[in-house]
Symmetry: C2
Subunit: 219 residues, 2 copies
């Protein structure tokens, strides 16, 4: 598929974030104002391009009427839907890319096999928003079996500075595994929660992918 230009992506991003924040699409003139175009036709052209390239579907003649094409979403972590209540009581619905695995250093979004969406409040505390860099990871293996995380479970990983006792996604020997972070005095280790794997791994900051916040399991 043909890819977006920078401006086209910016416009599409703005449109999506507008939907997230307001629950309805922006008009062409809204977009024009946002990007300070002198003519509506500038926007019109970009929208045509986005539709031709397959990232957006327009409903001809209808106002503020579009469909996005999920398959075309490049950065899945930006696919955010939100319900807004009166006042400040926003009810965020964040969708999270689901990774089959994690490659060197950063999640490989090209391997994503779906999207996991969850409402914030019930899954974590308070009304905190899930950071956009969050991702979900299907668990393989039994390294965390004693922490009640089993093969086939899905773990939601968020970036952040892990504290002692946090379960983190860490890159060990080129593979991402879940481990518990152990801080002992000035030393930091990673520990598998499986009594059959008693080893402690030394840790450098860079291998930490993020902190596990939730576990989802199908029965």
């Amino acid at each position: 598929m043909e890819s977006m230009t920078k401006k086209q992506k910016a416009i599409l991003d703005y449109m999506k974030s507008h939907v997230s924040q307001h629950s309805y699409w922006p008009s062409i003139r809204d977009i024009q104002a946002k990007f300070r175009f002198a003519s509506t036709n500038a926007v019109f052209g970009h929208l045509q391009a986005l539709e031709r390239k397959g990232f957006l579907q327009r409903i001809p003649g209808a106002a503020r009427a579009y469909k996005i094409v999920p398959e075309a979403v490049e950065d899945l972590s930006e696919m955010v839907i939100r319900y807004e209540g009166p006042g400040e009581e926003a009810v965020p619905l964040t969708s999270i890319p689901l990774m089959g695995s994690i490659a060197a250093g950063f999640p490989d979004y090209t391997e994503s096999s779906g999207v996991l969406a969850s409402m914030q409040a019930p899954l974590t505390e308070g009304s905190r928003r899930r950071p956009p860099q969050s991702f979900a990871l299907r668990v393989r293996g039994d390294s965390m079996i004693d922490a009640n995380i089993n093969d086939g479970d899905t773990v939601i990983i968020e970036p952040g500075s892990p504290k002692h006792g946090d379960i983190v996604a860490a890159l060990i020997d080129g593979e991402t595994t879940l481990k518990r972070l152990i801080k002992q005095g000035s030393k930091t280790y990673l520990k598998a929660e499986n009594k059959n794997y008693p080893e402690l791994y030394p840790v450098t900051e860079l291998v930490i992918q993020g902190i596990a916040k939730s576990v989802v399991r199908s029965i």
Copy 2:
């Protein structure tokens, strides 16, 4: 809060389902056509009423631009968001009411403390839609501890006919508990997955609330 008339609810429902299916709001004339009103003003009046009663927020002058008020959603199981791709590849995002507890026979929506939304595919198999009567239940107690379901977890319950071995939400002594369904010959029992609770409960069809399909746990 003032409640909706039947027609107002029908219109609001149509609007929500239109958003679900098309990802943009219907115009007043769309609604007019749907309900075969002879005048747009009929719709206009209903929308005014819905806004006055607090169920809907309109953006004056803007086309196809509304916000729904989550607190005003009466039947949470109808709050469905869907992303539609090209062709048949719809990607359903179903939101599920989260119950604090379950009262006699039916989920008590008045006790709902939030909404849990999840994309179907990653959590269960195939592209099956989660039935609209699904709900989520916060687990209290340790009756299923041996099935890896612990105090504080959230379980997603779907209606259906449970098979042998399924984990079900069942009403026992006026309280909803999770139990595993055991069919032994012609007899059916409910069994707690905790070796400290070895009892088998006899079962009548009516006490079964639904089948547990997923478990969500915050770490």
